[in-house]
Subunit: 366 residues, 4 copies
């Protein structure tokens, strides 16, 4: 059993492998009447496309998306939207030497353990290219959210030991790392040069902040907003930790420090601080939602590593080919996409939370 669908009301099913014919997603449960064209989706895909800087893989992929169904006369019809991206630059020979050995830090061994064999070309389904479907679907979710006033600010918080200390939103798109701090961006570049020289790789931290989320989203107790965000984030390959709001820091705080008080401001109830990161008891509280994910260093490195072949023979493996020395920058849009999927689903689920709202809804749509 694989589990390639995500979301209960706005459901995304992704498919495809690194070196197969194509990758794609089917979006089920998209409301009718949303204006949608391929460019809406392409813009998001371009943010994760390889080959945009010297710090990403040299693989050449245009990653052009095509809408195959669910859109008519420029608007969604309410039926499933099928999206496809054809693979173009599948140089399988690059990966020939790893067909029968287990790369450290990769899923080669576990796929074999589970399925008995694997599509070893470029990591198959466990490749980062799998996220194409997520980003394509996330772009649609983001468009829905933007129509009710939700917006995202997602960026690289740190690469290896280099952390963004300042926050300038305009800077995010100006450096190849999507860091909101020009100096940190420069330092990150230098750090990566050293890593590359040493045939090594780096990890980092991505932060996603969401504004304009209405209070009330999230469904206790297992569909809490933070619980679903955690699943969404941890399902991204290479993510090893997820934090909401103050995250790991709360374990050392006292109640008097961590609690967010309330006040009355501008005619509505607001919080005096936001340690909680916009989610209380698993439900959005109307403040900014803050998510942080920790991404491990790219496992593909070209220095020799100890491993075994499928037959258990011990070898020293050198992985050559085309790899990102850090995947964090390209994962920024993936994090944002997953957050958008969770929020859209929560948005729809929430519509039947109150009997008075249901009554009004059906009175008005009559």
């Amino acid at each position: 059993m694989s589990q390639s669908s995500f979301g209960k009301k706005f459901t995304v099913t992704t498919w495809g492998e690194s070196h197969g014919k194509a990758l794609g997603a089917v979006i089920d449960g998209c409301p009718a009447g949303l204006p949608l064209c391929e460019n809406d989706i392409q813009k998001a895909l371009d943010r994760r496309k390889p080959g945009q800087s010297r710090y990403t893989t040299a693989r050449k992929e245009g990653d052009r998306v095509e809408i195959l169904s669910g859109v008519f006369e420029g608007k969604t019809t309410g039926t499933p939207i099928s999206l496809i991206v054809f693979n173009q630059d599948q140089r399988s020979r690059d990966y020939g030497n790893i067909a029968c050995s287990y790369r450290p830090g990769h899923a080669d061994y576990t796929f074999d353990a589970k399925y008995g064999f694997r599509d070893y070309r470029g990591g198959g389904r466990s490749s980062g290219r799998e996220t194409i479907g997520r980003v394509a679907a996330g772009a649609i979710a983001s468009k829905i959210l933007s129509e009710i006033g939700v917006s995202f600010l997602t960026y690289t918080k740190s690469i290896g030991p280099v952390t963004a200390e300042h926050f300038d939103p305009d800077e995010i798109s100006r450096n190849p790392f999507y860091m909101p701090d020009a100096e940190a961006g420069k330092a990150a570049g230098e750090y990566l040069e050293t890593c590359m020289k040493n045939q090594d790789s780096a990890g980092g931290v991505i932060e996603c902040r969401v504004q304009g989320v209405p209070a009330g989203l999230g469904d206790p107790v297992f569909g809490k907003l933070d619980a679903l965000l955690a699943q969404a984030m941890m399902s991204i390959g290479a993510v090893k930790a997820v934090e909401i709001g103050d995250g790991t820091a709360v374990s050392q705080m006292k109640g008097s420090q961590d609690n967010d008080g309330f006040c009355q401001k501008d005619g509505r109830i607001q919080k005096l601080s936001n340690h909680a990161g916009g989610i209380m008891g698993g439900i959005s509280d109307g403040e900014e939602i803050v998510i942080r994910v920790h991404v491990k260093p790219t496992p593909s490195i070209s220095q020799p590593q100890n491993t075994v072949t499928c037959k258990g023979e011990e070898i020293a493996l050198e992985i050559h080919g085309r790899h990102d020395p850090v995947i964090v920058p390209r994962a920024v849009v993936v994090v944002e996409s997953m957050a958008a999927l969770v929020l859209t689903d929560a948005l729809f689920s929430n519509m039947s939370a109150r009997m008075d709202h249901i009554r009004r809804f059906y009175r008005e749509t009559e």
Copy 2:
């Protein structure tokens, strides 16, 4: 829409409020033929029961569980197992003063925002008592897992700034904090006394290590084992961060440090290290699974806090009544229970992963 069910094949539905008549869980999908009695479940519930030390609430609850269905002649029948725990010590008067104000750090405001009103008695559904259903169900999951050789070691890693530096498994049950380090336990007690004196509260870190998990569990890409563990953990009230294996530390590591090499040992393929925490590509790799959760300080503190009433009036609120100065120790078994639920579900899902296994299964059960 609430979401009170968890798991696809081994499905738990929990219900109940802090001050309602009772709380419980329905377990659907439990295989037939598992020996099960109330005591199997009671042992787990006793680990979270209040009133076991001076560091937990003074509320008196026996938390006796009763099996209402699904067990016949000492064995599960394959039909839904209904479990119930009646509330006994619901002193609602304790909570009268919070009926119409929003306690900082609690879900009062968000429940009102979502549902239009709330059961304010003791936090209603957002109370920690909600975890009774999780622990009761988790006990059954743990029993299933133990039959195939899976075992748990779950403990408090830190309370506030006090971290367990040594690891002595026997010590875990000897101190009221479930810490594997006697000295740290003593220091934690002292730290908590200071918090209590200051009408304040503390958070902490819980670590769960799982041995004997067969390689191959977990279903990419959205049902990855770590993704579902993250959802499970973050769905526990007060948890604000989840880590797998080296967790947040990976973002500062290099590929050469983080990658786990492979070797051939004792006739089978093993890993040379376990930075990944037993999960690669979302699938268990046969090594110990390591999960860490960060728990925020108890939000109920008796020092005055700024907040508003339901009508938006600003007030200084003092919360009296019966509260734990730290919930970490009682949450240890909740973390273990949620891990057990995830693993049991993954165990069952995995059975249809390979055609040769399916063929053999049906040949043998004919």
Copy 3:
């Protein structure tokens, strides 16, 4: 794996066996703010309660329902509603002789084949008492539906060869068979007397008509309204066929006879006929929804029947004890309840079908 939950947004989980301690249901996803008391549910349960006429089992059960959670100050809170009915008259000795033989027409053999053993007391989970949870949950669904103007008319269309030829809605509650035709009711009674004298039993047909369903409910292609109604109905024990609208008759009709034309009437589009039974392409069309189910005769009969013991020994079995000579009248409310569950779920699902409705919803709830 058992599957004891039904519905995606309004989800019901039922549990309990014929001779266990209790039976019940957990309703998850009920909107907050619905006025609800035990009597709302009791009225529905009383329609299926045994012992109301000489044509039902002599088992004495008050079937009193208790609400354990999810309701506060007379209104639903949006959290799971747990309902329980304790068994009272479990005379297990009645069933002793069937512990080790397979009753024809019952699920004894298949439960053993699947689960390895079974709770043989009164059929265990496969007993008709399992429907208590469905009816209790259905009562809440019906209450929700009534708030938006949906109402039900459910009755016995035929018992054995006796069919109701006239339709007088007032008559339905006047005869023990819930037939809308007094004469047919009388004839049905006579037919059943003969069956009982011959130690035999009878089946029949139940028809459910639903008024006031808004056009637009149902989710193609697998969640079509008729598809979910078919699942719901066929999941009731003893149902062997389900029809929508003209049902089986359509296979012999021509397109010109079966097609429902449209007209403009009273300012809105209406249909000229209703062969489709209110559902077109899996979506409600605003006309009356018509469902018919065919119920097999009670399998428990006291004349000797050929069967085998669990060990394969051939025997002639006589089933004594307390049985209904026909279950149709008591199943009327079960059919209605299942229809209500399907419609409520479809009602909630439909709320996110259109972008303009979503925009308006969130603008108005701000």
Copy 4:
């Protein structure tokens, strides 16, 4: 919300419209190691392809399927299988005149009522072409089932008033109607000629018989095998009734007639008759499973029909273009496909029904 996925463990998501670029399906949860090539699927698609006789639409579609993912070196990998069929002969002009009027018997009106507008080209998503995804997925399910000894016999039982009285399995593929009776096939052809001459259409009955299903499949109480088959069948456009075993006839039978006795034969327990159609209490009993579906006449007829435009104007509509005078023959493989999907899902679900089987499974796969 649309619901385009079916099955819990073997999950199919279909997408695509009659006149869009393509149609397809994603199969999630297919076990690894199943030999699979495009021809396995093509053979099933060819059974529903248009243009095979003078009794089907003149639309020219090769309906060539392409596998885009999930298969490597001739075997499934356990990852999602994406299948695509490009549309070729979309003569949208044929449908221009129905863009703004509601065809009787079609889903035009209900799609508008639900979604606010619709893809009117050829019925859009509500077209019979939607079943391409079902058939493609069903072919994979059938291949899995055949590996454990399950086989299908599906045929046309009747067309309009013409019923197959004899049963010759070899005859099924010899006539354009898939009837197991040569004479009936001839009579059906004559009946259809008359219908066509009168610009009218016909319905019919399809019967599906499944051999070799192991006892024990099906998950009470809502995932009963017959309940899921009913949903599956009723989700096929134009199906208005579903019967299992003796179906509608049971309502007039007595218990003594309908009950299937048991005997001991060839070393195993068997039934003396099969009125139940192979399913008892929602679980397969090891005998032949018998399903019957009633299909309505093709709604597209060219004689004038009363209807309204989208604006409510009353008109007489004549539908010209390319239509099947009866869809029953082409729906035969659709019925079989849906049955295969249900059975495969039940096959996988059943693997975790017993603790002893789970223990053995994990002992053997170690």
